[in-house]
């Protein structure tokens, strides 16, 4: 509750990282999946193929940018005790737009993603970005932050989906990359494969970062 005082003046933008730094931060140093452990449900559920993973990443990009921009524009009007409700309802409105758009132009994909598109509403990445950044910063910074975080999320989804789709079906974006003789590891495209792949990837990211830390001294 200590972060509720949000002076809507320009000096707020002077504190903290600049727009470019926030953009870079979202992609690797503060990657939403590997570093912040946020938004795990879609990460596990829809990464059985690159197509669905990238559609989800695009949907999250749209919702996060729109919600961050909207919250940043109305940040002067936010009341501390109602702000979470305002965030959630704003996000829900944009998610409805994405859901209708997907159903209109990508019907098969919309069927395949099913309830995971509306579940973007309760994706912690978006609420946390609204709370941490958009409610305190000006419009350009909020948008840069949103795009950076979404690209970080897309990168994480792509890394998991690549491993799962190649090992589980021998294809990547539907194109065959492994020979047809490859015995598809069906477990990789089922829910257990998602948990195990993400667990091992998280371990390797930690190992890599620890090694780099050591090398720096």
């Amino acid at each position: 509750m200590s972060q509720t005082q949000t002076p809507a003046n320009a000096s707020a933008a002077d504190r903290g990282p600049t727009a470019a730094e926030r953009f870079i931060n979202g992609i690797l140093p503060e990657n939403p999946t590997y570093r912040q452990m946020l938004g795990m449900c879609p990460t596990l559920a829809i990464t059985n193929g690159m197509r669905s993973a990238m559609t989800m990443a695009a949907a999250v990009l749209f919702v996060l940018v729109c919600a961050n921009a909207m919250i940043s524009l109305i940040r002067g009007l936010l009341k501390p005790h109602l702000r979470i409700l305002v965030f959630t309802l704003t996000i829900a409105a944009f998610v409805t737009i994405v859901d209708r758009l997907l159903a209109a132009y990508m019907y098969d994909m919309s069927k395949q993603l099913g309830p995971y598109v509306p579940l973007i509403i309760v994706n912690c990445i978006i609420i946390s970005r609204c709370e941490v950044c958009a409610a305190k910063q000006s419009l350009p910074i909020a948008i840069a932050d949103a795009v950076g975080q979404s690209l970080g999320f897309a990168l994480a989804l792509a890394s998991i989906a690549t491993i799962r789709e190649i090992l589980g079906a021998g294809t990547w974006f539907g194109l065959r990359v492994l020979p047809a003789a490859w015995p598809a590891w069906v477990i990789m495209v089922l829910p257990p494969g998602a948990f195990i792949t993400l667990g091992l990837l998280m371990g390797s990211v930690n190992w890599f970062l620890a090694r780099r830390q050591e090398a720096r001294g």
């Binding site: 452990m37 596990l44 309802l89 509306p118 579940l119 509403i121 309760v122 667990g199 998280m202 930690n206």
Partner: protein, 229 residues
């Protein structure tokens, strides 16, 4: 008899076969976050089951009477405002907004009610109650119920009992999964896990093995349906 057997099938499939956490991967944040100790995990599971049942009842009622295409209440109000209009009233575009509002407010009301009338229970739920608003499992249950009440023929419309069975036993399935996980993580603390995998990494791998075990329930529903017939 047919009704009871359909209830049993819905309950078993929500709790075991299509377990919310291990099959649909929803509710992962609390599943990884509060599964360090068995008693805390059990408290979280109970809180989720409680809220999910209330939110499911409310969203079922709102969908059936107000939001679905041709809902009685919305139609009545529309014809009262515009007596000469024809056509079906369809408010289902508002579904997501209404559901998330219902979830947020029911969490708020449950919190206030417990604090006033059951202080010990409120103390034991503690921080978990407000956190539940952003638990995907609750919204997921509402969305699953929506699939069976919004835009389906009247004969296939789910009544409140079925909706409640799905939601409550979805919550029970979540409790089972999180308590199993917490039991294993308590023992994992005593193991020599590689440095990089400690914390979430090993928890996810254990969850994967647990999900594999739960895959063993696949097909139970077909035999159960044959048995109950």
């Amino acid at each position: 008899m047919e009704y009871v057997s359909s209830l049993v099938l819905i309950a078993v499939s929500a709790a075991f076969i299509n377990n919310f956490v291990l099959y649909y991967s929803v509710g992962i944040c609390p599943y990884l976050g509060v599964s360090r100790r068995v008693d805390m995990a059990f408290g979280m599971g109970c809180a989720v089951t409680f809220v999910i049942s209330i939110a499911a009842c409310l969203s079922w009622a709102l969908t059936v009477f107000v939001l679905r295409p041709g809902a009685p209440l919305a139609t009545w109000v529309w014809h009262w405002l515009r007596p000469d209009s024809a056509g079906v009233v369809d408010l289902s575009i508002l579904n997501y907004l209404v559901y998330i509002f219902v979830i947020a407010s029911s969490v708020q009301f449950v919190e206030m009610y417990l604090r006033k009338f059951f202080p010990p229970l409120y103390k034991s739920f503690g921080i978990y109650l407000p956190l539940i608003t952003t638990n995907c499992a609750i919204l997921f249950a509402c969305l699953e119920i929506m699939k069976h009440v919004s835009g389906v023929p009247a004969a296939q419309l789910w009544d409140l009992g079925r909706a409640l069975a799905l939601a409550a036993f979805g919550g029970v399935g979540f409790t089972i999964a999180i308590v199993l996980m917490a039991g294993m993580r308590e023992d994992l603390d005593l193991c020599d896990v590689p440095q990089a995998l400690r914390g979430p990494g090993i928890a996810l791998i254990v969850a994967g093995i647990l999900a594999m075990a739960f895959m063993g329930f696949t097909g139970v529903d077909r035999n159960l349906a044959a048995l109950l017939r």
